[in-house]
């Protein structure tokens, strides 16, 4: 079953700058894929379309069996509750503790405080930071902050984990550590999509690689490469 299907996706920003052209893509459930390319290739735009921060100018996107191309703000919020996010700049709330940061997505969903704290503690154990749960993010190293961000992403048991240059601010060893963590998450059944320009990292952790250049998909190679049946499935779903 496909987790993500994109059909003829194009994105042109309001200022007229084209970001993506005719992207056809299918990511199966449980897959691990890299989106790679140089700066300005369209990696982040592709991810932004997946979590509905932007709408495609043309084309359709299916997540599971759901068309997410034109969702209301409220439906987008509910969709995001099934997705985990990891960003280069961690996006942690600096005035809250590590535990509060990790617990935040469950609080938003109205889960009880006891359950939220227990689950947050469990996730901090998972990333090896339970002993720093009362610290503020700025008291942690970059690698630790990223692990907190991963714990926060995983607390909702997401079906899909999106990571945009997650190792961009980290040294090589820490980057490898983070990638190992993504691999572990993927083996537990979560679909992982990582946007990165770091070719060395990709070679160290080989998975499917989708390459973009100037908004065009120029190659799709490696394990898990899906047959391009996205268009057909979308037509059926519509």
């Amino acid at each position: 079953m496909s987790m993500i299907q994109m059909c003829k996706i194009a994105k042109i920003y309001p200022n007229g700058a084209p970001a993506l052209h005719d992207i056809d893509l299918q990511i199966p459930s449980g897959a691990f894929a890299y989106i790679t390319g140089s700066s300005g290739a369209g990696k982040s735009t592709l991810l932004r379309l997946l979590y509905c921060a932007d709408r495609p100018t043309r084309g359709q996107i299916l997540m599971g069996k759901r068309n997410i191309t034109r969702l209301s703000p409220r439906k987008i919020a509910f969709l995001r509750r099934q997705i985990g996010f990891v960003f280069q700049d961690f996006k942690l709330l600096v005035n809250r503790t590590v535990l509060e940061n990790v617990a935040l997505p469950l609080q938003v969903q109205g889960i009880g405080i006891e359950e939220t704290r227990a689950r947050a503690f469990e996730l901090l154990q998972y990333v090896g930071l339970e002993y720093k749960m009362q610290r503020k993010p700025l008291e942690l190293s970059g690698g630790e902050q990223q692990r907190v961000a991963i714990a926060r992403a995983m607390i909702v048991r997401p079906k899909l984990l999106l990571a945009d240059e997650p190792t961009g601010n980290l040294d090589y060893n820490l980057a490898l550590e983070i990638m190992d963590m993504f691999s572990r998450i993927n083996k537990e059944g979560t679909t992982v999509l990582v946007a990165t320009h770091d070719q060395e990292l990709i070679q160290q952790n080989p998975h499917r690689v989708i390459s973009l250049k100037n908004g065009h998909m120029v190659s799709d190679s490696g394990p898990d490469t899906a047959n391009n049946t996205g268009t057909q499935n979308i037509r059926e779903a519509l």
């Binding site: 979590y51 509905c52 703000p73 409220r74 987008i76 919020a77 509910f78 969709l79 995001r80 509750r81 996010f85 996006k91 942690l92 709330l93 005035n95 809250r96 935040l104 997505p105 609080q107 938003v108 969903q109 109205g110 009880g112 926060r152 909702v156």
Partner: protein, 297 residues
């Protein structure tokens, strides 16, 4: 219930976690509202004092001859029929003479050998509040002149001219300064809140990313804004009361040559509640506008 607890908790925690931002917002609201409240306090008291002055405005109608009792009643009724006349008092020649003697004080021996008949009898007319101006007095005089018996009038024309000019200036200054102050208050408070929300735009972005609905994100910010507004308004009233007590009570009395400091009063309770309500509304509305801009899912 869980949500309500979360919102209350979030509102209080957020103020504790960002003491500088909260302090800046509360401080700005407090100072701006204190200026506005203090200005209102001054205007109200000046109005009260000038209203007391205006009670002294009266028209005196001198009579050429002393009327009979019947005529006196008839004329008095005729004067009372004018709607702008609040009260009519007949001053006989004897009363006028006694008053004159009292006013002369130690020099009252000047009146020795003179009789009360040297002074004319008169009617003293006090006016209703809306007629206490030069024009009001003149209009009444024109009406009274229709009866030839009433020919000699005195109503302190020069004093009334100065009083009218002062009142006009007071109203103009009050309107201009008040309008400017209200505008400045709204501008400063809304911009301060906008800046504090801008400083927390990362928080708004993160909340949208983890699946918070727009209302879920906005409510704690709105309640925080409302609470900051109320605290700011209470501080403003406290500061205003301190200024009133230590400065205004004696200062304004001296300035307006009012002897009784007790004539200067603090803002009435409905206005105090109005200041708190204004703080509350400014806090909510000031937060609502930038939130609409920054909370975009």
């Amino acid at each position: 219930m869980k949500r309500l607890r979360y919102f209350i908790q979030r509102t209080i925690l957020s103020m504790i976690q960002s003491p500088l931002l909260s302090g800046a917002t509360i401080g700005t609201i407090a100072v701006a509202l204190m200026l506005l409240a203090f200005f209102t306090l001054i205007v109200l008291n000046v109005q009260n004092i000038t209203q007391q002055w205006s009670r002294d405005i009266q028209v005196t109608v001198y009579l050429e001859r002393v009327p009979s009792t019947n005529k006196l009643e008839q004329w008095q009724q005729e004067i009372e029929r004018h709607s702008v006349v609040e009260n009519v008092t007949y001053i006989s020649q004897e009363e006028a003479f006694e008053r004159f003697r009292t006013r002369l004080g130690q020099n009252d021996d000047l009146l020795d050998g003179l009789l009360p008949e040297i002074l004319p009898a008169s009617f003293e007319l006090s006016l209703t509040e809306e007629a206490r101006s030069e024009r009001g007095a003149e209009n009444l005089v024109q009406e009274l002149k229709k009866n030839p018996v009433f020919s000699d009038f005195r109503y302190g024309q020069d004093w009334l001219k100065r009083y009218d000019a002062f009142m006009f200036l007071l109203k103009l200054t009050g309107t201009l300064a008040g309008g400017f102050l209200i505008f400045a208050t709204l501008f400063i408070i809304s911009n301060t809140i906008k800046l504090t929300i801008y400083a927390r735009r990362d928080e708004l972005e993160i909340m949208t990313l983890i699946g918070a609905t727009p209302m879920f994100i906005k409510i704690p910010f709105l309640t925080e804004g409302a609470l900051q507004g109320i605290i700011g308004a209470l501080l403003a009233l406290g500061g205003c009361h301190a200024l009133y007590y230590f400065f205004l009570k004696k200062g304004l009395s001296a300035l307006l040559t009012t002897t009784a400091a007790s004539n200067i009063s603090f803002l009435p309770v409905p206005l105090q509640l109005g200041v708190i309500l204004l703080g509350f509304l400014l806090g909510i509305c000031g937060s609502m506008l930038p939130l609409r801009k920054f909370v975009r899912i």
